[in-house]
Symmetry: C2
């Protein structure tokens, strides 16, 4: 039996979804491909309720490519980057490494970034872009992107809002136009629950206009090219990962059946159960009220060995994740997203209780 993944990505992929990948190849300039790809785009638009001034695309890459896309195609001169974990820090560093100026708005790891903190910074200097993580996979913190989006659109309408959702998208509510963000992206190995190798991105029309003004966007990192090519040909500009597009098409059909609200409620239920369990035996690493609903980061208050736990979980065909980087043994993380449901989460937490002898 294989090890079922409760790590924050890659998440568990069902045998059914894996089998979607075995269909034979088709030409990526063929009618069959256009049908497949436009079908996916339409389903993405429906599930994420995109109005006419938003567009969707799929890139053949890790989600990380979109850090470069933001750095190369969106930031003109200077970005404000909210950094409250490993991934948001990396987002800012990537923009800097694209040769753009970055100011970091830092919060302690485990704390959320609030609208008023952002307002203060945006009021004090000129920024053309705000970049942040929705779901900080390293700390289990969910930044309040709806409140942030609304405030920025209202008070600083010229600032483009770029959000890395990654492990949040699908499981958590991520409706781009309700958030009011200009670009939000995620990779497929998190809540989409298909293998890694694709990233999904949504953009506003106004950010595409901005991108046209940014020089030296490159080719693979050129946001304009991705969307212009789709407008003209209804295909991808570069040869895409066809097997994963088959799987994504199937996934979108299943998600639409379950509905955006249904998927959210399923994830919320798993999160609440996990958080309650964590608070009973340990403590949550995330600030109260800002807990992610897809990844729970547990403060290892009992000083248990996470490494040993995973060794024992392996015998039970399960795997969770240790803390990220310097939090390796101080925290551990449980990804409850994608294919998982409450029954599976209860089962997994029962195994941890049993291994560690935690009282019921």
């Amino acid at each position: 039996m294989h090890k079922r993944l409760l790590i924050p990505g890659p998440t568990e992929v069902s045998a059914e979804m894996l089998r979607e990948q075995v269909r034979f190849m088709i030409g990526h300039r063929s009618k069959e491909f256009t049908e497949l790809y436009t079908g996916i785009i339409e389903k993405l638009k429906r599930f994420f309720q995109l109005p006419n001034d938003y567009k969707a695309a799929v890139t053949t890459s890790s989600g990380t490519l979109w850090f470069d896309i933001v750095g190369r195609s969106i930031v003109k001169e200077k970005a404000l980057v909210c950094a409250n974990g490993a991934f948001s820090e990396r987002f800012g560093k990537a923009i800097e490494d694209c040769g753009k100026k970055v100011d970091f708005l830092k919060a302690e790891w485990g704390k959320a970034i609030k609208p008023d903190m952002i307002a203060e910074k945006l009021g004090s200097e000129e920024y053309d872009t705000l970049a942040l993580c929705h779901n900080e996979t390293s700390t289990g913190v969910r930044n309040p992107i709806y409140e942030i989006g609304k405030m920025v659109r209202r008070e600083y309408p010229s600032v483009m809002i770029a959000i890395d959702s990654i492990s949040g998208m699908v499981g958590d509510k991520t409706l781009p136009s309700e958030i009011g963000c200009d670009v939000i992206f995620a990779s497929t190995q998190k809540c989409f629950a298909i293998p890694p190798g694709l990233a999904v991105g949504f953009v506003s029309d106004r950010i595409l206009e901005r991108a046209r003004e940014v020089p030296n966007r490159g080719l693979y990192t050129n946001l304009v090219r991705i969307f212009d090519y789709y407008e003209k040909k209804h295909q991808t500009p570069f040869t895409p990962n066809i097997p994963l597009l088959y799987a994504l098409d199937k996934r979108m059909r299943l998600l639409l059946e379950e509905t955006h609200e249904g998927v959210y409620q399923r994830h919320k239920t798993m999160a609440e159960y996990t958080q309650k369990w964590a608070k009973k035996h340990f403590a949550l690493f995330a600030e109260s009220g800002y807990e992610s609903i897809t990844v729970t980061c547990v403060k290892n208050t009992l000083g248990k060995s996470v490494k040993e736990l995973n060794e024992k979980l392996e015998e039970r065909h399960l795997m969770i994740s240790n803390g990220y980087g310097r939090l390796a043994e101080q925290t551990f993380r449980i990804g409850h997203m994608g294919e998982w449901d409450l029954a599976g989460i209860k089962e997994a937490l029962w195994h941890i209780d049993d291994i560690w002898g935690l009282e019921k």
Copy 2:
């Protein structure tokens, strides 16, 4: 029955290879992943006979990402780009779009770029990088990369040589250190005969040293990060496409069994048969002596309808490709690479003879 692909990519992928993709996911920071990935890297090193001062990597992307990697991480100020087809023109344009200076050394489409043409340009101005395509997929021309590499290394040793091999690698001889190039790359949907979604790249140690001096390399396009991460962790810096790595591992095992020379001879035999057929009924688009051994571009001297041919081939479960861009009806292209062997090519050409009523 599915349509078997004789297009220049994606090429035909066998059911056996497609099935390699259905194994369950593993964590990309796990020991199992390290074993899988180092196994692939070792096999690549063996098949492509890399000496100690060359390294291999696999990226989760189309091959096109490597245009940006060259533009962002390798070219310091100015590149000379050999342009004799659609893909090499795009290579040069991509470097320009990364904000670097580019001079194009143009040859008519269908003609090869020769060492003396390059020598003349390199002697007349300062370039830090030479970029060219090995196998111009749009014209079926194979540039003499071994002769070019030797000349440049001897006469202009400070110039870095960047080669897009794409549809050439594996089928044609592509031994990086014998060529003397500093970076050569290809995507997996050509001669590797697995689906699109990964690119394979080989680099010299000296180009990694160069890359360290180039500012603003970005993150996903940062050559240094890819190789430093591997040195330190034996993993990929970003979540990789695990299913395709399973397939690539299997492919490398099969290629090693067949041997580099064996694979080359199989492709050479297919190319010679196809070229002979093309010359008997039509003419070759590529300059004599510079014909690709993986893609034959046929001059449509009889003015046949390629579109109609493909419609009829579809009934026979086959697909070839029309000409590229403005050559759409003036040429047609047959990709004879990857899973194909002489028997299959004979069969396919027999179908074309039969449909068009060409005399035997």
